[in-house]
Symmetry: C2
């Protein structure tokens, strides 16, 4: 009996705060590698909720989902099980640009994620509101730069969770204010509340916080849309799964539709710009530039007379329609009036109005690449709280933070994929090295080696490492090994095969496959044993061979760059001792504390001369 205990205490290895896209991956990853984990979230009914668009993937984002899956994460399986429309974007471009995207049945997606979390061993999911962080001072230098160590969190209702590591994944909920026209209310998501206490706790611990904003479009009732005149956008005929565990998507696909804004709508918006919180000065924090509101688009692309709107159903048994392309915080009368002018939507009724939300984030240069904070040992940050946007970016960070929190508990060194191994590597390196002055989302252009970081080969890049890290189960291991064996065998068969082309001399199978007009299917007719090779492995053999030239060139580049780049810099390295180093460089290097020369080089404003000085100093003193 604990009747007289002043406070309820629960003990774990890892505490994760917030069960959004970052938090669920973080908690699942920590638990998978064996840490005793608890996931605390305000409301168990919002686990894995999609705050905005009911879709997973997209250009560069789809690649992240494939990586999360290759590392044993949840997102890929969840969207495969609950997707309602699958499309491989950029199909006509080269394989580095192929990007899977799928519309989700929003509620089914949430339920799937929650069910997975509930069934995960080592993991407790509990409804709690976290109000404060519990820390204790540590001797300077005992843990890198930290002067505090997190020991747990305080929750509403006289209780505390103690743990060696805490992962903050509270999304847009810190000091959140929602705006629709001049009306404002507190909350991280319409219909929900905000979290004030944690911002105070972070301030108190010396963290800098900054403000971003994001927005969401109105939702319409499908029953009130006139689909007759709208262009239909069907899914792919051969929908591709996101998860390497799945062979195919067999559930029926739903169509989306496309509508268009027009000058009348744009005039209306222009006439009301002074009532838009972003333009009236009511909001002055920065929003996602590449995901602009309709008022932004009308201002920035003043010459465009029309913008596309994608009408995306939010589920199979759900009339809510997400209007992709018309995110707005204009007052509600303008939102109503806009639709009156759009063909097909003249009679559409709004079920939820669009709004913008302003929230605190923690600039991510305050973190190590493994997402632990520099100031507070054991305190990790992942997801939108780091200034990113997007479910996929959140999931990728969450998985890394969860893994590394568990590794810290087990006294293992952090694991972070490099920029040449994964978009997730690019993501965390960009964040901790350069920070971000607008909500950060992934683009293929952010990756130097995007021919290596394809959506099709994420498993070949990561699953072996995931296995060594303890992140995957036997079923995934076996599937991966079979595929790898198939690829090897495919290559052998191709090399051994003698093919007689329509004209010219006999050539080896692999040589023949290099010809643009030749496909795996062509070859299979001549080399029947190729029929034994699985579809995915065949695709890998084909890409390996057809793009060998480009791939080899990128790999050579990686090799060249990595010679110096991997040279690590000790955490306590004293830049101030390098006399000739420019003051600006010292300041930047002191702030970022790059873990190796490669990261140092990527800090904006650091010159080759600066690097040469650091390198010389490192070599003299080792």
């Amino acid at each position: 009996m604990t009747a007289n205990k002043p406070q309820n205490r629960y003990d774990y290895d890892v505490v994760v705060i917030g069960a959004g896209h970052a938090g669920t991956e973080a908690a699942a990853a920590a638990a998978r590698v064996g840490a005793k984990t608890v996931l605390l979230t305000t409301n168990l009914d919002t686990v894995g909720q999609m705050s905005c668009n009911p879709a997973i993937g997209g250009v560069a984002k789809g690649q992240i989902v494939r990586e999360v899956d290759a590392l044993g994460g949840l997102m890929g399986e969840a969207i495969d099980a609950t997707g309602i429309q699958f499309r491989m974007l950029n199909r006509r471009k080269g394989p580095a640009m192929h990007s899977p995207r799928a519309q989700a049945d929003k509620k089914a997606y949430q339920n799937f994620i929650k069910f997975r979390i509930e069934n995960q061993d080592n993991l407790d999911l509990r409804q709690e509101v976290v109000e404060d962080l519990i820390t204790e001072p540590i001797a300077e230098g005992s843990d890198r730069l930290a002067t505090q160590r997190v020991v747990g969190v305080q929750v509403r209702g006289d209780a505390a969770y103690y743990a060696r590591t805490v992962i903050l994944t509270t999304g847009t909920f810190l000091q959140a204010i929602m705006h629709t026209g001049k009306s404002q209310s507190a909350g991280g998501r319409a219909g929900e509340g905000t979290t004030a206490g944690l911002s105070g706790a972070l301030h108190h611990l010396g963290f800098t916080l900054d403000r971003f904003k994001t927005g969401t479009p109105p939702r319409l009732n499908a029953r009130t849309i006139d689909y007759a005149g709208l262009e239909e956008q069907p899914g792919d005929e051969d929908p591709q799964p996101f998860s390497y565990l799945n062979d195919a998507i067999t559930s029926p696909q739903m169509a989306c539709h496309i509508a268009h804004t027009n000058e009348q709508v744009h005039d209306l918006i222009r006439a009301n710009l002074d009532r838009a919180p972003m333009y009236s000065g009511q909001i002055d924090s920065r929003g996602p530039r590449y995901c602009p509101s309709i008022e932004d688009k009308v201002v920035r692309f003043a010459d465009k007379s029309s913008h596309q709107l994608f009408l995306e159903p939010e589920g199979r048994q759900n009339c809510e329609v997400y209007v992709n392309g018309i995110s707005t915080s204009l007052p509600r009368d303008v939102q109503d009036a806009m639709f009156r002018c759009i063909p097909g939507l003249e009679k559409a009724t709004i079920m939820r109005y669009g709004y913008a939300v302003e929230y605190d984030f923690s600039p991510p240069t305050q973190l190590w690449p493994h997402l632990e904070s520099k100031a507070v040992s054991g305190l990790f940050f992942a997801g939108q709280i780091n200034g990113t946007t997007g479910y996929e970016e959140a999931a990728g960070q969450g998985l890394l933070a969860g893994l590394n929190a568990a590794r810290l508990v087990a006294a293992q060194t952090p694991w972070v994929p490099s920029r040449q191994d994964a978009y997730v590597g690019v993501l965390v390196d960009d964040l901790v090295t350069s920070g971000t002055d607008e909500p950060y989302r992934m683009f293929t252009s952010r990756a130097e080696y995007r021919l290596l970081l394809r959506q099709d080969n994420a498993d070949r890049r990561l699953t072996q490492q995931a296995d060594e890290l303890g992140l995957i189960d036997a079923a995934r291991r076996e599937r991966f090994q079979n595929k790898r064996r198939d690829i090897e065998r495919g290559n052998e068969l191709l090399k051994a095969a003698k093919i007689q082309p329509p004209t010219g001399p006999v050539v080896r199978g692999d040589v023949y496959l290099r010809r643009p007009e030749v496909t795996w299917e062509t070859l299979r007719e001549q080399v029947p044993e190729l029929g034994e090779i699985g579809k995915e492995a065949a695709e890998q053999c084909t890409i390996d061979i057809k793009y060998a030239g480009y791939i080899d060139r990128q790999q050579a580049e990686v090799h060249k760059q990595s010679r110096h780049a991997e040279k690590s810099i000790p955490v306590s390295f004293d830049y101030d001792r390098i006399g000739p180093l420019r003051t600006e460089a010292k300041e930047k290097l002191n702030r970022v504390r790059p873990i190796n020369l490669g990261q140092a080089k990527r800090i904006s404003g650091i010159t080759p001369a600066d690097l040469a000085l650091v390198l010389a100093h490192l070599e003299n003193h080792s």
Copy 2:
């Protein structure tokens, strides 16, 4: 363009506030009969949410669901589509006691209700927080006793909905405070907020508000329960649908399990009673007596050494388990410790802690039987705000309020079923005549004529009237008419049939069927044409014949009672003019304002002598 409008204005016939069980039925009913209706609710993701147990029906409650269905409501079809275990309670008792109950897949249930609402013509579902009521004064006497008329509601964000009628169905959300041990927070449901403004508005309009409380048990994670030693409780082998539209339930059924408390648990509770909000004096409002918390049970049934706990899964793809029987607001350490002592639950982890919630309700004697308030014309109340508890009670009231709001808009007279026609009639009559000093739930014992109010004949009692009221669609009408034809034909066949019993003379089929050992099936062997009669109609013929004696007696009683009972009393009837009437009687009659002598008679403390005086006065002055 409405750019310079000071406030956004929307116009409807009926505004419903709150999309719980009352609000969804109210809105759907109003829309079905043709009123232009809007349903406003805080969060579109909680439409039709089950705040507490994931089950529909039960003794007397199941009968209400059947009535709601017979009137074209949503609840029956929703539970049929999403139930995971169906049981007919009291099967071994007479048909008046048979009560259907089903466990729901909680999330699927919600989604079903929302989808139906979204698809309902004449009905808009919108996410809005209602903050105030808009009223205007009317000349006294122009509308019964009202001195105000509702004209609309004010919502958060500079907007108002105008309508001739408004239905309040805000459940437990008015001035709600949740308690777990000594910790308190504002909110009508864990993880959600409260509604303060509306209580103020009601006070302002002269309504009396009072406080009730209710509680909910902790939810456990199924993965952490040891089911091996627990008793399994399967569903029925022939699950019966709730809706008269469905022939059968074909979805697979899930099992529940039974665990037991013990002396160790009871000792623990007793030792911590001073920390239970109800016993420490922290809560002093009344809770549901028949649905007591575990601390209540331990105190009130001190001699019982064990209580049953039903472990009810909350869904098919959901590990949350509702522990029916252990509702509690004890502090969380006691909740944790209780389970440690219960065989099978020793290692169970709590996902959500139990809590109690205190909230404002509006004593229902302030309403007319059709649920419009006496003081404010056009303002209706339904559901938990009227001091009731239970989804079914809420749904029944909601349907009546929605229908009558729409009828008021169309200048039609109210429609309310009588006590001999429906449990719903008993419900509203009890509420408006006697009020309630604890959360009101339905029992079969509340009905005088429960052999008439069976779960099997709700359609025969109500669907014809529902059709005349415009509440049902063609499919339901046709199904009902076919069934009625079948019943008639069955009766004719039985009367025409000559049966030779094993011993004795030849008898008519209906006479033979009266024998206890004879069933419809026995007869069908001898009268092959009976095979053409549908299953439900056959059941009705059988019950009509076997229970004819009892049924006739109750009907005669109804007849006898209704002679004077139906004598209506004008709204403006002046009791003070009846010189000899006792002061207490005057006070009570003035407060309740019974619509007829029957209702007057049911007011507690009104004597036959009082009634005789009223009757005499009525007859003298008409």
